[in-house]
């Protein structure tokens, strides 16, 4: 089993680091690559643990403090691991006026965790997202890319979550 946080693995043989290094080599020298490297790293690792930030810092010559500053500034970057299934509840204005808060409350109640948190079993992470672009289906939530719309009746939510538990 590979160590999830990436801290004790051998970077020369860990294919995730190899992949990241290859990406860095392909862009190094161009201007303004810090964001794109972090984005690629987030894609490869799923999040940006300190070890990965260190690795990037060494390879692109940007101080780790600066990388950490960027990683914590933008909401798409995460420095903690995400759950297996990511629930995004749209809190765009159109969804909000149609009752997105109720959807959010129901999910928080069902999973017993807060927004931005992951369940102890690592199965779900709840996120409040901006407009998902399906205002016609408001209120909307998305689980791993699947869209569930017209959630006017929040009582259908437990059954939806159950599908992902198995």
């Amino acid at each position: 089993m590979q160590n999830d946080c990436g801290c004790n693995c051998d970077k020369a043989s860990d294919e995730r680091y190899v992949k990241l290094k290859a990406y860095i080599d392909s862009v190094i020298g161009s201007e303004g690559i810090t964001m794109t490297v972090l984005q690629e790293a987030q894609k490869i690792f799923g999040y940006l643990p300190l070890e990965v930030q260190k690795f990037i810092s060494e390879n692109i010559g940007v101080p780790i403090a600066e990388l950490y500053g960027i990683a914590t500034f933008y909401s798409q970057f995460s420095i903690t691991p995400k759950g297996k299934h990511q629930i995004g509840i749209c809190l765009g204005t159109a969804c909000y006026v149609k009752g997105a808060q109720k959807v959010m409350d129901k999910i928080v109640e069902e999973l017993e965790i807060g927004v931005g948190e992951t369940t102890p079993d690592g199965l779900f992470t709840i996120d409040a997202t901006r407009c998902l672009g399906c205002c016609g289906l408001a209120p909307v939530m998305m689980i791993d890319g699947d869209v569930y719309g017209k959630l006017d009746d929040v009582n259908v939510i437990p059954a939806i979550l159950e599908k992902y538990r198995n």
Binding site: E31, V97, G133
Partner: protein, 616 residues
């Protein structure tokens, strides 16, 4: 030099034949994010599968962008030579099978899946709907018609003709003069004249200049830029090249939200195709003009829609805004003169070059010519993307196009301008929409989000919602915005919890004014607008929360109370379901809710079969 233009015209001649389906049938599926969310991908795949299985020749099944009517997604349209097009709505894979066997094989359109309420109005064309009648689709013309993943479709509708005309027949100054004459104003929010902005950057001497397309559409209720990128990406690329030619820039960046994966993918395809054809690259159309375009992804920060923050983000830094001047047209990306234009603004440009400034001025009002796209959402029947000439009234947009509020509810207000804007009440419905009128009415155009609210929406809660958004999105650089908005939110929280005082209202107003006057960038300067606007127009609601400790609409949970009316039959269901054991009563007698124990979850109301529970 002419050879390239001749080549373009040759390409066009072939592409037109294909697009007009003169030799076969063309089936398009609305595949913008909205369509995909509603299940369009499965419909497209099923169509392709069934068409192949039925061995049909000369049938093309293609994706297209947003048709505009979200409520009917997934939408499929079938074009046949010499026949009226047929629109199918609410499609799913099962319906596809029937459409293929009945319509495509036997030539009998499946009426039941088409528009129209009764037998007679079936087979109605989407374009005949009231929804489209008052619209003027100029920017959105190609969205929902052409295949955004095929450059030939764009070429068929005069694509890249404007770029060819500009670089081969016009000087950069002539291009700028046309833009100035057209009166085009930036569609991203503030409405600054585009031609004037270009002229500033053109006047600066520099070894390198940049064009940036601002596709960081952050207003939580607006999605027109996404739709344009997903439905007509080449129009944006063409416009960027034209503006590059005008100001002397050879490099362009598209800064697009990472939350728009479909748009990003289509942009990538479009850039590759344009490069392949030589419309982007070196010596465009045989001229000595070079232009290259690169995509940069945002990472979820609303403030990056502000131009100086956007520049910082492209440079790979935290997206924090800075003082202006110097303006980006003088000192922008990496210190070089930079022009930042919004997606919708750009999309207007090729059409203006081809049709002339008079054509553009023939639409809209004198000070705000042209059209504007609005994302109509919230409590409205026809949710969707609408494009209207400037000067149309709010009433026409909300009632004639949008069809008013659903379920017979009364219209309360429309919110425009997103987190920077304000609300417009019933009294303002006759205001003709343009940049200046909306500001005069206490709101703003913003990027074009238009969220309708009905009698069930609490305006204090809406103000709190927007402030919650800005607090979350403040970059934290300047104190008024970072600390001030947070304090305002705390006061609003206090009010919606039922603990507000009259003094709080005064402090709120005072804070708002200070934040407006002292914040560094537009995010902070406009953050108090939703609060000020609702406080001015719906003071009574604020007073109800503060003085009467009551939320008139029942949205603010803490102020809400559930009651059991005389309709109660004493079935005991509510008492059994209540998680707080707050309901008491004996069988077949009216039950009561203990207000101290009630946690206001609403389970009793949801479960009551006799509508005997009310909230107020």
């Amino acid at each position: 030099m002419d050879k390239s233009i001749n080549e373009l015209n040759q390409l066009k001649a072939n592409a037109v034949k294909n697009l007009e389906a003169t030799e076969g049938r063309r089936i398009i599926v609305g595949m913008a994010s909205c369509g995909i969310s509603a299940g369009a991908r499965a419909v497209l795949e099923k169509l392709q599968e069934e068409v192949a299985a039925a061995g049909l020749d000369n049938v093309q099944v293609l994706p297209t962008g947003c048709v505009g009517m979200c409520i009917y997604e997934p939408i499929v349209e079938i074009f046949e030579p010499g026949k009226e097009k047929v629109n199918y709505i609410h499609m799913n894979p099962d319906r596809v099978s029937k459409v293929v066997s009945e319509h495509l094989v036997n030539g009998r359109p499946v009426k039941e899946y088409t528009l129209g309420e009764d037998e007679e109005s079936k087979l109605k064309n989407l374009n005949d709907l009231q929804f489209y009648k008052k619209q003027k689709r100029n920017v959105l013309k190609n969205c929902g018609f052409i295949n955004p993943e095929d450059i030939n479709d764009y070429i068929a509708v005069d694509g890249y003709q404007a770029l060819a005309k500009a670089v081969t027949k016009m000087t950069p100054k002539e291009v700028i003069d046309i833009m100035k004459a057209s009166g085009l104003r930036g569609r991203g929010g503030a409405g600054f004249p585009t031609g004037l902005k270009w002229s500033f950057a053109a006047a600066n001497e520099a070894d390198q200049k940049y064009i940036i397309c601002n596709a960081d559409e952050g207003d939580p209720g607006a999605f027109m830029d996404r739709s344009i990128l997903e439905g007509d990406p080449h129009s944006v690329l063409e416009a960027m090249a034209i503006s590059g030619y005008a100001i002397g820039a050879s490099k362009g960046y598209i800064y697009v939200r990472a939350e728009y994966p479909v748009a990003v993918e289509r942009l990538k395809i479009a850039i590759n195709q344009a490069k392949e054809k030589g419309f982007i690259g070196k010596n465009i159309f045989g001229s000595d003009f070079d232009f290259d375009i690169e995509i940069r992804l945002g990472a979820g920060a609303f403030v990056c829609g502000e131009e100086t923050a956007l520049i910082a983000s492209i440079e790979g830094k935290r997206g924090m805004s800075r003082n202006k001047p110097p303006f980006p047209a003088n000192k922008g990306l990496w210190g070089k003169p930079t022009i930042i234009n919004n997606v919708e603004t750009l999309s207007n440009i090729p059409k203006i070059i081809l049709n002339g400034p008079e054509w553009f001025r023939s639409m809209g009002t004198e000070k705000s010519p042209g059209t504007k796209v609005f994302a109509l959402g919230g409590k409205i029947n026809n949710t969707g993307l609408v494009e209207v000439p400037m000067g149309i009234t709010l009433k026409e947009v909300i009632y004639d196009i949008g069809g008013g509020c659903p379920n017979g509810k009364a219209f309360k207000a429309v919110q425009t301008g997103g987190p920077s804007g304000g609300c417009l009440p019933v009294e303002d419905l006759d205001v003709p929409i343009d940049f200046d009128n909306l500001v005069a009415a206490g709101s703003m155009m913003g990027s074009g989000g238009m969220i309708v609210m009905d009698e069930d929406n609490c305006m204090v809660d809406i103000a709190r919602f927007f402030l919650d958004f800005t607090v979350d999105e403040s970059c934290g650089k300047c104190t008024p915005c970072r600390e001030g908005t947070k304090r305002m939110l705390e006061i609003l929280d206090k009010i919606t919890q039922g603990n507000g005082t009259m003094e709080d209202l005064a402090v709120l107003e005072d804070l708002a004014e200070n934040i407006q006057n002292t914040s560094l960038c537009a995010l902070g300067q406009t953050a108090p607008n939703p609060v000020l606007s609702t406080m001015k127009l719906f003071k009574d609601e604020y007073l109800a929360h503060v003085v009467d400790k009551r939320c008139p609409t029942g949205v603010c949970k803490a102020l809400l109370r559930y009651f059991i009316t005389d309709a109660c039959t004493g079935c005991t269901l509510c008492a059994k379901k209540c998680p707080a054991k707050a309901i008491t009563g004996t069988v077949k007698e009216k039950h009561y809710i203990d207000q101290d124990k009630c946690i206001k979850c609403g389970v009793c109301m949801d479960n009551c079969r006799f509508n005997a529970i009310i909230k107020k």
